[in-house]
């Protein structure tokens, strides 16, 4: 079966409810703004519950962070508040992605290893593991030097050990986007591309959402507009200090297979993985200039020099491998580096999920469930209080 054909196979039947169609050309139960993975995930979960969904995407689905990220499916190294969401996403959905979305999105449970190169790194790693254990989390384990050499025989011997999570892995972002989109449409969601939302307002009991092609109505709006979600949040009365910034990645030519787990480093920024096709994707908090109005980020490869140094320190044999492409995307960052997830405080009927600060990919399958629970039941079964939208302002102290 061709690559493309694999995406059109239907997933196993989800639940008993028949899919709902949008009520009319202009109105639906829910409008989702933003066709990245958070929005698409929300569309899948909601549509499967019989809710009529219309998703409005400014360019094409997965154009920005969701389609061009490093593909890490990572519970390792998460902010403590994200851990329950991250574990749920991984164990309930990522490991069953084919069942969930009709296609596995290229998910490989390769494990993730965060390497320690110095004694200080080792101390920090062990402290982290202890901290998590005290909170009841055992997914991060210590891998000593001998274990690391077994896990990654090709890596430089100066590595002293690392934090190892065996059930983490990686996937192909654009395949996940395509699978989610196909699933959402099969469940009855309507996905409209090239429709940039400029304004929304509440009138006569419904939200009116305007694009350059017209205005749509729904009682519920979900704001998953990524790096542009801050503007919408502001419009509904939830100002947040969201920064739209650029993140760069680079990829090598195809190289003979030499590493299985996804790698990070305790002491310096690194995200490093080798795909089944042999290419190696290298990232690690490589920030660059973004033009949010122009909706693009500008690659400055020269600043990726430090990543190249880190990689060749860990794998000297890679120094002759070519970087064939670098790219950058526009991402939304929040000051505390965790997202906003939850209902609007100022505007009933609006729900937010944005500001994933470069680590939203792995969470996305569960974010849609959280959004669907909020819409359907008014509460989430996973703890989302740390992600409340008003945590940045004085109001929450009153």
């Amino acid at each position: 079966m061709t690559l493309a054909a694999r995406f059109t196979r239907p997933a196993r039947a989800q639940g008993n409810r028949p899919p709902a169609r949008p009520a009319s050309a202009r109105s639906s139960d829910v409008i989702i703004v933003g066709g990245g993975l958070q929005g698409l995930s929300s569309a899948v979960h909601l549509a499967r519950r019989g809710v009529s969904v219309r998703l409005l995407e400014a360019e094409y689905c997965g154009r920005h962070s969701s389609g061009v990220n490093a593909g890490g499916v990572r519970t390792l190294g998460r902010h403590v508040a994200e851990i329950p969401l991250s574990l749920a996403a991984r164990d309930r959905i990522w490991h069953h992605m084919e069942e969930f979305a009709g296609h596995d999105g290229g998910f490989v449970p390769s494990g993730q290893l965060q390497v320690c190169e110095t004694d200080a790194d080792v101390a920090a790693a062990k402290a982290r593991i202890a901290e998590l254990e005290a909170l009841g989390y055992t997914h991060e384990t210590w891998a000593d030097q001998a274990t690391v050499r077994e896990l990654v025989p090709s890596m430089s011997h100066h590595v002293l050990g690392g934090i190892w999570v065996k059930d983490d892995g990686y996937a192909y972002p654009y395949h996940v986007v395509t699978a989610f989109r196909a699933s959402a449409e099969r469940a009855g969601a309507e996905i409209l591309e090239q429709q940039r939302v400029t304004r929304l307002w509440h009138e006569a009991g419904v939200w009116h959402v305007q694009t350059q092609r017209g205005t749509y109505e729904a009682p519920i709006v979900i704001n998953t507009a990524g790096a542009w979600a801050g503007e919408l949040a502001e419009q509904v009365g939830d100002p947040v200090p969201l920064l739209a910034d650029g993140l760069m990645l680079m990829v090598t030519q195809r190289v003979a297979p030499f590493v299985e787990p996804v790698l990070g480093a305790m002491g310096r920024p690194l995200s490093f993985k080798q795909y089944a096709n042999g290419t190696v994707v290298i990232g690690g908090s490589l920030r660059c200039e973004a033009d949010p109005v122009g909706r693009h980020a500008i690659v400055d490869m020269a600043t990726m020099r430090n990543s190249a140094i880190t990689v060749t320190d860990l794998f000297p044999h890679l120094r002759n491998m070519q970087v064939v492409r670098a790219w950058a995307g526009v991402e939304g960052f929040l000051p505390d580096q965790i997202p906003v997830i939850g209902p609007s405080v100022a505007s009933p009927g609006v729900f937010h999920a944005f500001g994933f600060s470069a680590h939203g990919f792995e969470l996305s399958p569960i974010i849609g469930e959280i959004m669907a629970d909020l819409v359907e039941h008014g509460e989430s079964r996973l703890p989302i209080h740390p992600f409340r939208v008003n945590r940045f302002t004085q109001q929450e102290n009153t």
Binding site: T2, L3, A4, A5, F7, T8, Y60, G62, G67, V68, P173, Y174, H175, T178, R181, A182, E193, V251, T252, Q253, N277, H296, I298, V299, D300, M301, A302, M304, R305, A308, I309, V311, T312, L318, R319, N320, M321, Q322, V323, V324, R325, A326, W327, A328
Partner: protein, 470 residues
């Protein structure tokens, strides 16, 4: 022109990318006006492709190549003189891997990374062969007519056995004539166009008359080929290149009959198109030229891109040939002079106007040539089973399937199937992908757009990247 301290990048008034006719002419103008100018090229010698190996050629090759090639000598001599006098810095074996809109350039010079800062940049990186996606076009033994010419010019190499030439356009006939002069046996010429359409020629009559020198040259080449009694098939269809590990035979249909020719070497050509990697990487404006069937950067009358301070001259701007390229290089350099010193240089406007008029007169024949040698749809937009992306081996059919899945542009098909992600970074497939998607989705090529081109324009190793000065 001494390099500055190693912690700050080398700095020039103008950096010229490409030492073909446009680059050499621009360098000559800039050096004469005492600008601090750097001319760089990834080849070891000046000349670009059209004047390849001009400094190391010999009388035998010149006789084969014909009188147009010799125009390169004057340009090359000017460059050599400026270099010897210290008025021009010339870096051969230098590949550009990133150009920023603030006119910083990152290059690999003899495989070492170097950063250069410019006040202005002239992109003169020329043209490349239009892709020719037919079944079997990736077999060893299938090459371009341009490759044949490069082997002749740079290495005095000619086909060892009877060669098949397939495609259309003046360069194909020129190569045929050059091979005949060199004593090479041509197995056949398979012309994918229907031959001279005189009704068409009449419609472009005025252009034809103004460009009579070009027209005359074209006709005399065809006469030379006819006199040599080379088997010449017109309006061929269904071209298939077959073989196991290398080319063994060429199949095609002509005049309603199937033909099969045993051949180990087939040279393809259906025109040249601007090499737009650098201009796309700058996010400059481009438009789809419906006559030339390719992307051309949008330029002001001073050859400036929509990115200030960066100019394009020569076939990289739009296909015009070597003489036009030299004139445009001169004009772009005038544009740079004007940028760097807006009030100086009396007479600059007048000189520029003269150049533009000369360029226009040389370009008069282009509409006729574009019509006459328009590559047929079937050879630009292939059947499902034909490879479009050579590097990642993606077929036209796969692209069409992805369009049906909802991929409406080349960047989506790239993300989905790796089409365009190989080492050539879309040079060999970009035009084809744009047109396949346009046809499959009912959009215009202009609306479909092109790949988002990112650095590195030429690959560099992790080791080289690690060496960049912070």
């Amino acid at each position: 022109m001494n390099p500055q301290a190693s912690t700050s990048p080398l700095s020039y008034d103008v950096v010229i990318i490409g030492a073909g006719p446009a680059g050499m002419a621009a360098a000559h103008r800039a050096a004469r006006h005492q600008l601090n100018v750097l001319l760089l090229d990834e080849q070891p010698e000046v000349g670009g492709q059209i004047y390849r190996s001009i400094n190391s050629t010999d009388p035998q090759r010149e006789a084969i190549l014909g009188p147009d090639y010799r125009h390169g000598h004057a340009l090359a001599a000017q460059v050599a003189e400026h270099v010897a006098a210290g008025r021009l810095t010339y870096w051969p074996n230098t590949a550009v891997w990133q150009v920023d809109t603030d006119k910083t350039l990152h290059v690999l010079r003899d495989n070492r990374p170097v950063t250069v800062q410019a006040q202005a940049i002239i992109v003169a990186s020329g043209a490349m062969e239009r892709p020719f996606p037919v079944p079997g076009w990736t077999l060893p033994g299938v090459m371009t007519a341009g490759a044949g010419q490069i082997l002749l010019k740079s290495a005095s190499l000619v086909p060892s056995e009877p060669v098949v030439l397939a495609g259309c356009g003046p360069l194909l006939y020129l190569l045929a004539v050059q091979y005949l002069r060199a004593g090479v046996k041509i197995r056949a010429i398979l012309d994918t166009t229907a031959g001279t359409d005189w009704k068409l020629a009449w419609r472009h009559g005025r252009g034809l008359l103004k460009g009579w020198r070009y027209a005359h040259k074209g006709l005399s080449m065809l006469r030379e080929i006819k006199n040599a009694e080379v088997p010449f098939y017109r309006g061929i269809e269904d071209l298939r290149l077959e073989g196991t590990d290398a080319l063994e035979r060429v199949r095609f249909s002509a005049d309603g009959r199937q033909h099969s020719l045993d051949a180990k070497l087939c040279l393809l050509h259906q025109g040249v198109v601007p090499n737009t990697q650098i201009t796309w990487s700058l996010r400059a404006e481009h438009e789809w030229d419906t006559d030339q069937l390719c992307w051309v950067p949008t330029l002001t009358e001073w050859c400036e891109l929509s990115v200030p301070g960066i100019y394009v001259a020569g076939d990289g701007a739009s296909i015009g040939g070597a003489l036009v390229a030299a004139l445009q290089g001169d004009l772009a350099a005038l544009g740079v002079l004007r940028q760097l010193n807006p009030t100086g240089h009396a007479g600059l406007s007048q000189e520029a106007a003269t150049l533009r008029a000369e360029i226009a007169s040389h370009l008069a024949i282009r509409p006729f040539l574009n019509r006459q040698y328009r590559p047929r749809d079937a050879f630009r937009i292939p059947e499902d089973d034909v490879l479009v992306c050579r590097c990642e081996e993606v077929t036209a059919g796969s692209i069409r399937e992805q369009v049906a899945l909802g991929c409406t542009g080349p960047n989506q098909t790239k993300s989905f199937s790796r089409c365009g992600m190989g080492p050539c970074q879309g040079r060999m497939c970009g035009l084809t992908v744009t047109e396949v998607i346009a046809q499959a989705s009912g959009q215009s090529p202009q609306d479909v757009g092109y790949y988002r081109i990112r650095p590195p324009i030429k690959a560099l190793t992790l080791g080289q990247l690690a060496q960049i000065d912070p």
